[in-house]
Symmetry: C2
DNA sequence: ATGAAAGCGCTAACAT
DNA sequence: ATGTTAGCGCTTTCAT
């Protein structure tokens, strides 16, 4: 392995100059910079991340913490963040909490404590106080994505507004028996998202003068299976049957669409269904949804951190930034009492 | 930030002893080890990864390279690998090639060249010769998952056998008009997997004395949408219509099931459909599949590397190891000419 | 613009 | 079992 001294010798300059030439920090004449680069390439020299990190105190690495990986939202956020970070020369360390198992403690106490990274992106995490202290106490910048985090700058969608928009859309179509599939409030991973979305749903109903019927709200797991099972109960029961379902996520909505078809119901003739997220399958399935652009959220979080690191600031302003969302109307919703 | 010297002073020992006590390498009396640990905890001391890495030449980090993230197979492999790595105290650096875009070059030339990691797991990669040289030329262990890689130790499923098994299953059920949805051989990401699976499909037919009908093979994208579109063409054409479809992946098979339903066909009465992978939705959808346990493959790859690193070997034996697979029969396949 | 040299915070010989 | 010390390979003042 060629070291910086080899490059210096071959280029006929000092190691300091090589360091400056290669990192771009500090003044170097164009001529020597080119020569140094050429020699480095020739020798196949690459700076040692450990040595560089030790000397400079920066690792050019950003950590991304997720509750688990097998969910479209998380992987989209990661992809968005990573693309931006790569552009700026940062590598990504992935911390997976594996859905709150006993692994979670290990990740915080062992991995995250080491502070291998210059900054952190925490996706959809509900942190305990010691966990929060651990992450923020290091003095390194951190940004949360997917929900406000106490004391941490975050990027999040207006969950009330999103659900309200989806609900108002079906109200506009003439629906009044509108069901809502939402998350269990006690579910640790999804913190306040479910309850916020439920509030948005109820707000839309109330504003339209429609009474909130508790039998039309079903606690549902945030997955295709979850949506399927809840919708099947809801749609299979003649006494409860709604004309529209506003699901708190696209995965739930996709499951609900399946359930409707299995019951012989046509979408949207017999039942209108809408989701929230902007899932990659929504277009294929013809699902009306409120897109919250998760990849873009990841990219924004990364940009915030990169700017922060570039400017030498120790932390991003700890406020919650609301991100864009748009209603995308497709074939799964239609007027009530269609032909 | 407390350093190792602070701990040493507080514990009344030398820095070397602290290092030994905390890392577990080298002899330390139980008493002093406990005291050192207590002092370290008290001071909130954590070793600096950079310093430790520079001094020891090891980073306790393993890199995982994937073509992209938004696919169930890749995230499953990552989760499996990461769980095992975490157990052994390794963090994970994630390298995403973003499906062969121009980003790919940047990842190889910039990120991977730095060799931040002690070892590498390459998932489903078709490497160019310079890329392979880059990865293997560092003298650090590497393992491929999801397909044999020239000159690299790999873990892969017997793609011929897997497809053959799925095909034999429907042959056993009496089918003879059996279609195959497979990948485009020219598709860069999926290297030989599609062609191998096609070979397995054809081998099963031939062995059973069934003629291979080229109109029953459809080049299909490895996704739900892909399977949906191909199946719709296949099933909608009365001249071509098969009684069974063997898809090269579960995602394709799920799409095919949807297409069948949209055409008013019952599964498996009118059409039997099987997949390959063991996708999380297969059980929910009642899809017959050949499970190849991707998470377990990731875990095995991680174990191989951890052992290799622990034993001080520089590389894992460069052979291809075949992993387990099992036929999982569900409701999507049934006898031909059912009631 | 360039060079000399002092660390960065550890680990691993080696010595005791 | 523990201490001493020489690096690990860079970055970054501080001179020049």
């Amino acid at each position: 392995m060629a070291g910086i001294e080899d490059v210096a010798r071959r280029a006929g300059v000092s190691v300091a100059t090589v360091s400056r030439a290669l990192s771009g920090r500090g003044p170097v004449s164009p001529a020597t910079r080119d020569k140094v680069r050429a020699m480095a390439d020739e020798l196949g020299y690459v700076v040692s991340p450990s040595a560089s990190g030790l000397a400079s105190g920066t690792t050019r690495t950003v950590g991304i913490v997720v509750p688990f990986l097998t969910s479209w939202f998380y992987t989209s956020v990661i992809e968005g963040a990573q693309a931006t970070l790569l552009d700026h020369g940062y590598d990504v360390t992935l911390y997976n909490l594996f859905a709150n198992g006993d692994v979670r403690g290990a990740v915080f106490e062992r991995s995250l404590r080491r502070r291998r990274d210059d900054a952190l992106i925490a996706v959809s995490l509900e942190l305990s106080e010691p966990e929060r202290a651990l992450l923020t106490g290091t003095g390194k910048p951190i940004v949360g994505v997917g929900g406000p985090l106490e004391g941490v700058p975050t990027l999040s969608v207006d969950d009330v507004g999103v659900a309200r928009l989806a609900t108002e859309h079906v109200i506009m179509l003439g629906h009044t028996r509108i069901a809502h599939l939402g998350g269990d409030v006690d579910h640790e991973l999804d913190f306040h998202v479910p309850s916020q979305r439920r509030l948005g749903y109820e707000a839309a109903l109330t504003a339209a003068g429609i009474e909130v019927d508790p039998t039309l709200f079903v606690v549902t797991e945030f997955s295709i299976e979850g949506g399927y099972h809840s919708a099947k109960q809801l749609l299979g029961d003649p006494r409860r049957r709604p004309t529209a379902i506003v699901a708190a996520s696209d995965e739930m909505a996709l499951g609900a669409m399946l359930a409707a078809r299995h019951l012989g119901l046509s979408v949207p003739q017999d039942i209108s269904i809408s989701g929230i997220d902007g899932h990659e399958l929504a277009e294929f399935a013809g699902l009306t949804t409120v897109d919250q652009y998760p990849a873009r959220q990841g990219a924004q979080a990364a940009e915030l951190l990169v700017e922060c690191l570039a400017s030498g600031l120790k932390a991003v302003d700890a406020t919650d930034r609301k991100v864009d969302y748009d209603l995308v109307v497709r074939g799964s919703t239609g007027p009530v009492h269609s032909p």
